[in-house]
């Protein structure tokens, strides 16, 4: 029976080439966009690459301080003192890292000046994140403790600043400070690891950062295992409640949250710095809703096209019913036909998505972007394709199945 379905499907699709072309284009483009978006989202949120342990760590990025009566409110990144004195001693964490946001610095090399991104990090940062070291090494605890002027570059920066020679051992003048390059790591474009240059936090030109509650840092908190994360979140909220500002008269209430990467983006989107719930659930629902909406429009178009196509075959429907096909059997036949077309469109969409992502990586439009259609994304694409096939096939098939054999034979559809 399946062979009969396949032959009929093949004949129908080759007989109506324009219809098939429109159908395939519609499916291919939609799936390509969905797969590219899914791959980018996966790159951002799924534990992978340098941030492969992100299912075990949380980040504290923002401190909210309020005066009594909420007359004044200050919201900003954490100071080093807050991380060092309040977060490091936490019981539920395995490791706490302090790292600055990437700051733009001028790098002088020969007679050129480049504007590059620089992060200042402690030694734990290199333990929590899984940088792939291509050359040399990353700063040790001793390097950080001693305040050694050592730097790590990413591969693109190393190639740009020191073309044709090994970057390790070279001098680097960044933001008026001179560092010795001790290592080169692979390029990365992920939330906590994106940068061109990394130097020890202790090389900051001023030691003032050590005594600040507000500053330019965020903390990464690593748990023993993912199940520990809620404990860390509860302990961070507790730490915030007991936080003592240097001037308690000015600030008497502090709020801060240990967030997953998803929470971090949701907080930025919904401005929920004052609430424990970041709105990540809502954000996921919105993303899912948008994806469904994005699929729904072409699916409705396909439903329309398919209805016309199926009703054109009313004589065939009548014959099949007359010779014993039940409505259910016919629905299955038409859905199979549609799913086959969608799977073929899905395959084309997959190829187009791989080509689009490869172009996106090579174009430099998004620096350091490295995204692959991996198995998870492929199967997500496959699921999307099947959903598409069902969405656009079931409705016309169901409509068709309600036809009475006599009506169908008369072509009164």
């Amino acid at each position: 029976m399946f062979k009969n379905y396949l032959i009929t499907a093949y004949k129908v699709y080759t007989r109506r080439k324009l219809f098939t072309a429109i159908n395939l284009t519609c499916i291919t483009l939609t799936l390509m966009v969905l797969m590219v978006v899914t791959a980018l989202l996966q790159n951002a949120f799924y534990p992978s690459g340098v941030e492969g342990r992100s299912d075990r760590f949380l980040q504290v990025t923002t401190l909210v301080a309020e005066s009594e009566g909420r007359n004044s409110v200050r919201t900003g990144p954490l100071g080093y003192k807050l991380i060092d004195q309040y977060l490091r001693p936490m019981k539920s964490v395995q490791l706490v890292a302090a790292v600055s946001s990437p700051r733009t610095v001028s790098v002088y090399q020969d007679d050129r000046v480049s504007e590059l991104m620089l992060r200042r990090a402690d030694a734990e940062y290199w333990q929590i994140l899984d940088f792939k070291v291509l050359e040399g090494s990353v700063p040790s605890a001793e390097d950080v403790e001693q305040g050694r002027f050592v730097a790590v570059l990413n591969a693109s920066t190393a190639a740009r600043l020191y073309p044709g020679i090994a970057a390790t051992g070279q001098q680097l003048n960044a933001g008026g400070q001179t560092f010795k390059v001790i290592g080169v790591v692979e390029d990365t474009l992920q939330l906590n690891s994106y940068s061109d240059i990394w130097v020890p936090v202790t090389t900051d030109p001023s030691s003032e950062y050590r005594s600040q509650m507000f500053g330019d840092f965020f903390a990464l908190l690593l748990a023993d295992r993912p199940a520990q994360l809620p404990l860390i979140q509860a302990e961070v909220a507790e730490v915030a409640r007991n936080l003592q500002f240097d001037d308690p008269k000015q600030w008497n209430l502090a709020l801060m949250w240990a967030d997953s990467k998803l929470d971090f983006f949701a907080r930025g989107l919904f401005r929920t710095e004052r609430e424990a719930d970041s709105g990540a659930g809502l954000m996921l629902a919105l993303i899912a809703g948008l994806m469904i909406l994005f699929m729904l429009l072409p699916a409705l178009n396909l439903v329309n096209l398919n209805s016309g196509r199926i009703l054109e075959r009313s004589s065939e429907i009548g014959v099949r019913k007359a010779f014993g096909a039940s409505s259910r059997t016919l629905v299955i036949q038409f859905v199979i036909e549609n799913v086959l077309l969608c799977l073929f469109g899905g395959l084309l969409g997959l190829i187009a998505a791989i080509a689009a992502l490869s172009w996106l990586e090579q174009s430099g439009l998004i620096p350091y972007l490295k995204v692959n259609i991996n198995l998870a994304v492929f199967f997500c694409g496959l699921a999307i394709t099947l959903l598409f096939g069902l969405l656009s096939g079931v409705i016309p098939a169901w409509k068709m199945s309600r036809l009475h054999p006599v009506q169908a034979l008369k072509g009164a559809a």
């Binding site: 062979k3 009929t8 004589s315 007359a322 039940s326 409505s327 059997t329 009475h404 006599v406 034979l409």
Partner: protein
């Protein structure tokens, strides 16, 4: 074999109600060749469709092999149609996208039969109607008479007890029409019950019984 009791059928179109059949009582015994005659629009095809369970009566009972068709549930009626009836239509209704052999095999797709057995039976049916050499042709590569013979092969491939033919020679010239009639008579002689709608008095007389329909009613 088939019994119709007090069958009525009306069609509702917009605000007009058309009475297609009224108080039909008919018995088709096993092995009969029944010809249904009557002017255009009198309800002959409606009657044939009701006998073949392609349509549902407004009132009355249809019994097949002594069992009344109580439920017109899609699945049940589909099974009954598949097991009991074979249909031959005036305009053949072959699926042009499928080869002749695939068209003939179609009724067997809806039975639990192995692919090899289905193929064997389809070949056998085509050989019976003299089209063993045309199995891999497509319907539009055949003449009208050949297409109707393919349709007959499709109708008999499932070895149905009853063949229902709606003006089977209506689209054929007299020679081809004659061949198709010979085939139907041969099948009837082998024990298949045949119910045929026709306009042609000569063809009708070749059967064993004639009923006439006029204005939706059977007339003597």
């Amino acid at each position: 074999m088939i019994r119709l009791e007090n069958i009525s059928k009306t069609y509702q179109t917009d605000k007009v109600e058309t009475l297609a059949l009224k108080d039909i009582n008919l018995h088709v015994p096993k092995g009969e060749f029944l010809s249904i005659m009557g002017p255009s629009g009198c309800g002959k095809s409606t009657l044939l469709n009701l006998i073949g369970l392609l349509d549902q009566p407004g009132a009355g009972t249809i019994s097949v092999d002594g069992a009344a068709v109580k439920s017109y549930r899609d699945k049940d009626v589909a099974r009954l149609r598949n097991q009991t009836f074979g249909f031959i239509f005036q305009s053949f209704h072959l699926i042009n996208d499928l080869q002749v052999i695939d068209n003939v095999e179609l009724p067997l797709l809806y039975r639990s039969l192995a692919a090899g057995e289905r193929r064997r039976r389809a070949r056998e049916a085509l050989e019976r109607v003299g089209l063993g050499a045309r199995m891999e042709h497509y319907p539009n590569q055949l003449s009208g008479g050949q297409q109707q013979r393919v349709a007959i092969a499709r109708a008999i491939v499932g070895r149905p007890q009853v063949l229902l033919a709606d003006e089977p020679t209506g689209n054929l010239d007299s020679q081809m029409g004659g061949e198709v009639m010979d085939l139907l008579l041969r099948l009837n002689a082998e024990g298949t019950t045949v119910v045929m709608v026709t306009h042609d008095e000569r063809e009708a007389k070749r059967g064993s019984k004639i009923v006439r329909v006029f204005d939706g009613q059977l007339v003597n």
